[in-house]
Structure formats: C-alpha cells, structure tokens
C-alpha cells in the first residue's frame, strides 16, 4: 500500500522531470521546444536546488543535445534529454548513431506535429518520422505512465543485454500539460530498481575505439546484431514491468480491454483513453500499444486473430505508403497469420485536432454495425466529426 504523501499533482512533463531527478542522472542536455520545454525547466530547477546532482548542459541545438548525450553516455554517465517535433527531426542523424553506438540514453519525446504548416500541438508524426532509428519506443498515455515508463526506461536501456536508447513518448499538451495525481516511488525503491550497472566505457585504463569505420564485410553484421537486440528487448520491457516497485500497477507491452470482441481497435498514446472510455460498454476490444518498437507482434496477434473487423488508429500519415505506420504493422501481422480480416485505417488528431468522444462513438458504432453485417470494406480515412465511416 502506498502512502498518501507519495501522491503528487503533476503534469506529464513534471512527472518525467521528477522521474529523471529520482533516477539520479549524471548529465541532462536539452534544448527548449514546445511542448517539451517544461521538462527542461523543471530539471534545471532540480539541479539548481541541489535535488539532482547532474551536469546540466544547455546546448545550442537539439542535434548537439543528443551529441552531448552520446559522448556522456559512452564515458558511463546516466543521461537524459527531451525533445519534440522539429527538435527530434533535427536530431534525426544522431538518433541512428546513438542506437548504433549502443548508448543507453533515455529521451522524452513530447509528440508534436511536424512543420509545414507549422503547428505546436500533438500528433505522432515526429516519432513516426524517426521510427526506424533503432530506438525502443514506449508510448505513455498519462502523467502516471510517463513517470513509471521513464523510470523503467533506465532499467531496460542500461541492461547489459540491451544497451539501446529508449524514447518515452507522451502526447503534446493532452498528456504533457494535463495534471493528475501521480504516485511516485521513494528514493530507496528507485535506487535498488536502478542499480549502477558497469558497462564498457571510454577510459584510459582500457582504451577502446568507438565509432570506427565499417566496410561492407562488417557493417551488416553489426546492424543485424543491433536489430536482433532490439527485437529481444521486448522481454526486458516485460522484466522491467514485472519488477517495477509499484505493486498496484502491472504494466505490459500492451493494455487490452474487452478481449475476444468482434471489433478490435488498435492504437497508441493518449487518444486510447478516449477510445477505451467509449468502448467500455460495447462489444469492442481495445488494444493500447505501450511498446511500439520493438513491436509486440505476438501479443497483438493474439488479440487480432478472432476479430471480424479491426480498426487501426494512427496519429500520423506515412505519405505515399499503402497504409499509415500502425495500420501497416497490423496488416503485416494479419498477412503473416494468413488472416483476411478487414482493417479500417483511421488517422486522427493531426496537429492537436481534438478527438471527441462523439467522434469515437460514431466510429465505433459504425464498426460494430459493419461487423454485424459482415461488411468487408477496407477503409482509409482521416476522421473528424463530419466524416462518417460506412
């Protein structure tokens, strides 16, 4: 049972900064960008007040933020950065390098639309644009999850069998700026959950060449090894969830509501709360994907195989592609299972566009009705109040 004093009123951004402070990171390097800025402000306050003993490196760009993190991580420091949107895009080159050099960096990505047109509000186009960078990608739906997943991220990233960077995603504004009571762990719990695990590092005692030039004979070996490690990191996520000190929550790679329903909705991020609220009294299953990369293929497969209609919700386009990112993953899984289940691919909430209960109700009602009538139509659409899916 957790004591009352450990419940604190926090926004998603506050919760992440608090988690980073409690994780006793050594280096924070970050650049301000809406809607992530509050995280950086809070961390600089934690450092200034002596609550966090870390080097706060106020870099001149996001590219340098991640470059500082890579350098610091490779000398053995526990590091943190946060970004969003244009900032994440500016980091793009460094994302691949951080993963390729096996740096256990934790970054908060406060998901925001990409310009142009410029827009400061939430959607997933920033992270989807960096989807293939080799990072673990976790999506938190609430300040509580933002806090918990940030702590968990360090445990996973620093595991000697993982050593990969982890991005903890929260939706811009709808999670980053929304307040709720967050149950925080006490310092001792975190200390034993996040031990300092020694790893190879740059030190004159044991000289090591990092970032060498790889010829075609060797490059593919390292890359394949890296991808395999990312694939199997799913079990490290599960381990981190199982051993997480807050006993009253049990996280997994997905969250499932109404398993075994005729219609199954799959999606990511804060919008899934709205979907679950609408679906709770319907014959609609909801699979909220918490771990997006590596994708929990087996766990999602189990939820899809008996569905009659699947609705895949994306908050990003993949322009010119046969389907947006999550729908694409869902369709690949179905194909691999030899299953011909119709998929409605729905894009919503671009650039902070509100996803209302009534919109979701309309969508789910249409889906249930279609499933009842055995409708096999595949749909790809952007959903708003006005657009009715039939």
């Amino acid at each position: 049972m957790l004591s009352q004093k450990l419940l604190q009123l926090m926004s998603g951004n506050d919760a992440i900064a608090y988690a980073v402070m409690q994780a006793d990171v050594d280096v924070v390097a970050a650049y301000p960008i809406t809607p992530q800025t509050v995280i950086v402000e809070r961390l600089s306050e934690h450092v200034a007040a002596g609550r966090l003993d870390a080097e706060f490196v106020p870099v001149e760009s996001e590219h340098s933020a991640l470059s500082v993190c890579v350098g610091a991580s490779l000398v053995g420091a526990r590091v943190f950065t946060a970004s969003a949107s244009q900032g994440l895009a500016l980091m793009h080159e460094m994302l691949y390098i951080a993963a390729g050099l096996r740096c256990p960096i934790v970054m908060a990505v406060v998901n925001r639309a990409l310009s142009a047109p410029i827009n400061i509000h939430g959607d997933h186009s920033d992270m989807m644009g960096s989807r293939d960078s080799g990072w673990m990608q976790i999506f938190a739906e609430s300040p509580q999850q933002a806090y918990d997943f940030t702590i968990m991220a360090y445990r996973i990233a620093e595991d000697r069998n993982v050593l990969l960077p982890v991005a903890v995603n929260i939706d811009g504004f709808t999670v980053s700026h929304c307040y709720e009571g967050v149950r925080v762990l006490d310092k001792d719990e975190i200390k034993s959950y996040l031990p300092r695990v020694p790893r190879p590092r740059l030190d004159a005692e044991t000289p090591m060449t990092v970032g060498a030039m790889f010829s075609p004979d060797y490059y593919h070996i390292v890359k394949t090894e890296q991808v395999k490690t990312l694939q199997q990191s799913i079990k490290h996520f599960k381990e981190a969830a199982k051993t997480y000190p807050a006993r009253d929550v049990q996280y997994d790679v997905t969250h499932v509501l109404n398993p075994g329903s005729r219609v199954v909705v799959v999606g990511l991020g804060g919008v899934m709360g709205t979907v679950r609220h609408v679906a709770r009294n319907m014959d609609v299953g909801v699979v909220s994907v918490r771990l997006f990369r590596p994708f929990p293929v087996e766990e999602v497969r189990q939820q899809l195989e008996n569905a009659e209609l699947i609705v895949a919700i994306d908050r990003a386009y993949s322009p010119g592609a046969p389907a947006p990112p999550l729908a694409s993953d869902v369709k690949t899984i179905l194909q691999d299972m030899d299953l011909n289940i119709p998929v409605w691919s729905v894009v919503c909430g671009l650039g902070g566009h509100e996803v209302r209960l009534s919109t979701v109700e309309k969508l789910l009602n249409s889906a249930v009705e279609a499933a009842e009538h055995g409708v096999k139509t595949r749909i790809q659409t952007y959903i708003t109040e006005e657009v009715t899916v039939t």
């Binding site: 001149e60 590219h63 060498a212």
Partner: protein, 302 residues
C-alpha cells in the same frame, strides 16, 4: 618547456600502420600533438580523413580511448564526454580525463561551427584542434570556408574567388582564454602550445596547418618544407592569444615571396596564370591584411 625530442614520451597515442597518405601533414601534426597532450586523454574525432584512416574496423591506430560520432558535432560530443566525466567524478563513479577534439577545416569552419560555438560559449574544459588542409579532402578536394582565394578544388575549378574565413578571430570572439596557430615544421612551438593549452580551465583552440599532398598536388616529401614556407611567406602566421594578449611566435620581418610557396603546389596552377593576376593580388592582400592586423593586435596587447 619542451626543447628536446627526448622530453616527449616514448609511448605514442597513435600507432604507425594507419591508412593516411604518404606525407599527410595532418597525421604528422596530430602525432606531435598527441605526444604533448597530458594523460589520461580521450580523443574525440569529427568525421573526416583522420577518422577514416585511423579506424578501419577491425583495426585501430588508437592506443588511447577514441570516439567518433559524426561530422558536425565533435565539439558537442566532446562536451558530453567532459560533462559526463565531471559528474561521475563528483559522484565517485569515474575520473576526469583530458579531452582533445579533432576536426578538419570542414568540421570546424563550416559544418562544425555551430557545435564549436556552443561548446566554447558553455566553457567545457577541452582542447579543440582544427587540422586545416584547406578543403574537404576526405570526399575528394572540395572547397571549404578554409580554402584560400585562388586555390583550385574540384568545386572551384577556376580558383576560389572568396576569402578564407578567419577562424581564429571567430573562436577568440567567444572569449576563450587560449588559442594558437601551429604547423608541424615548428614542432617545438607546436608541442609547447599543446601543453600550455591544457593548463587552462576552459576551452582552448589550436588552428594547425596541415599540408595535403593529395589535395594540393604536391610531392609527399614537401610537406614539412611547405609547413615552413607557409610561415616564412606570412601565408600562415604563427601566433597565440593568451587571455586576450596576442603574441606573434615567429616574426617574419622579411617575408619570402608567396609565389615560392604557391608554385610548389599544383592547386595554385590556375592562380599563377597571367589572366588570374587579380586573384593572386586578392590572396596577397589577404595575407598582408592578416599580418598587419596581427602586428597591430600584438602591439596593442603587450
């Protein structure tokens, strides 16, 4: 003060057998720099010739911890190394090292300028070394902001028409406590500047002249001679700036004609054509202006 070769350590930070071209000025300079840099030392390297020729996996020429991250961010990556070790030492989880960053002129004057500016402004304790071979040599001789007027490159087939960026002035505008130029011929000057640079509590900078036989179309055995001539013609003055005080380390009272330096390099064939007299004059003006400015600054800050 280092005055004899035997005062330098026997153990070298960089091994022979790397892939640099014969007569590579950068490798000679960097070998000298690493002999003078105090241990324990971590080297951080921008993408470029030095990175490519010293780290062909599964081999490495580095006997010290070495990190290459990307092209434009060596100053940021080195900042991270510094910040990380600082925090770890404070927490009893690691120890401080001396930190040296290497970048070519492209990685310093052009694509690396923003990260360099950030690191200098934030005040990380590290020595940033720019080995200047006056073009993008690793990609095959393309012009950079470090290419001087009149020089041929594959992207300035008629000779570069713009000035060479004054990187020392840009660095000094950040208020760094120590910045110096050096060239491998004047090795005593070079190694002592390196040793001095590490005594400052903050960022320091060295602009090192690095003849490139491949890119300059010169004979491999002319590298050292060229790094002497560059100074004697005032093409590349040797000076240092310590806490705002300018000191010319090699006073060239009677400069040799710059043509003597230029004609040894086929990259200047275009420039030496009669129809390009105006470009040659531009280069001479730039050299004279630089020297006059330096002598004024040295006189004004005794």
């Amino acid at each position: 003060m280092i005055t004899r070769l035997d005062q330098l350590p026997a153990r070298e930070a960089i091994s022979p057998g790397h892939n640099a071209c014969a007569g590579c000025g950068a490798m000679i300079a960097i070998r000298q720099i690493l002999l003078a840099a105090p241990q324990p030392l971590i080297a951080v390297n921008a993408t470029g010739c030095l990175e490519v020729v010293t780290s062909p996996y599964p081999y490495t020429a580095w006997n010290i911890p070495w990190l290459h991250v990307a092209f434009e961010n060596v100053a940021a990556a080195a900042s991270g190394v510094e910040a990380g070790l600082k925090a770890l030492e404070r927490k009893g989880l690691g120890r401080r090292h001396n930190i040296i960053a290497f970048a070519g002129d492209g990685g310093t004057f052009d694509i690396g300028l923003q990260a360099l500016s950030g690191a200098l402004e934030r005040g990380h304790k590290l020595l940033f070394v720019c080995y200047d071979n006056e073009a993008y040599m690793n990609t095959g001789i393309q012009r950079s902001a470090g290419t001087p007027p009149g020089a041929w490159t594959t992207t300035t087939p008629a000779g570069k028409s713009e000035h060479k960026k004054d990187i020392m002035a840009i660095v000094l505008a950040h208020g760094v406590k120590y910045a110096a130029t050096a060239t491998p011929f004047f090795w005593k000057d070079l190694v002592n500047k390196v040793a001095k640079a590490f005594t400052f509590d903050g960022p320091t900078f060295m602009h090192v002249f690095a003849p490139c036989p491949r890119g300059w179309y010169t004979e491999a055995d002319k590298t050292i001679q060229l790094s002497k001539l560059a100074v004697e013609t005032r093409y590349f003055p040797l000076y240092e700036v310590e806490n705002g005080r300018y000191r010319i380390n090699y006073n060239v009272a009677k400069p040799k004609p710059v043509e003597e330096f230029l004609k040894a390099q086929n990259r200047y064939n275009v420039l030496l054509k009669p129809e390009n007299a105006h470009l040659l004059q531009k280069l001479k003006d730039e050299i004279e202006e630089r020297w006059n400015k330096l002598t004024r600054l040295a006189a004004a800050t005794p």
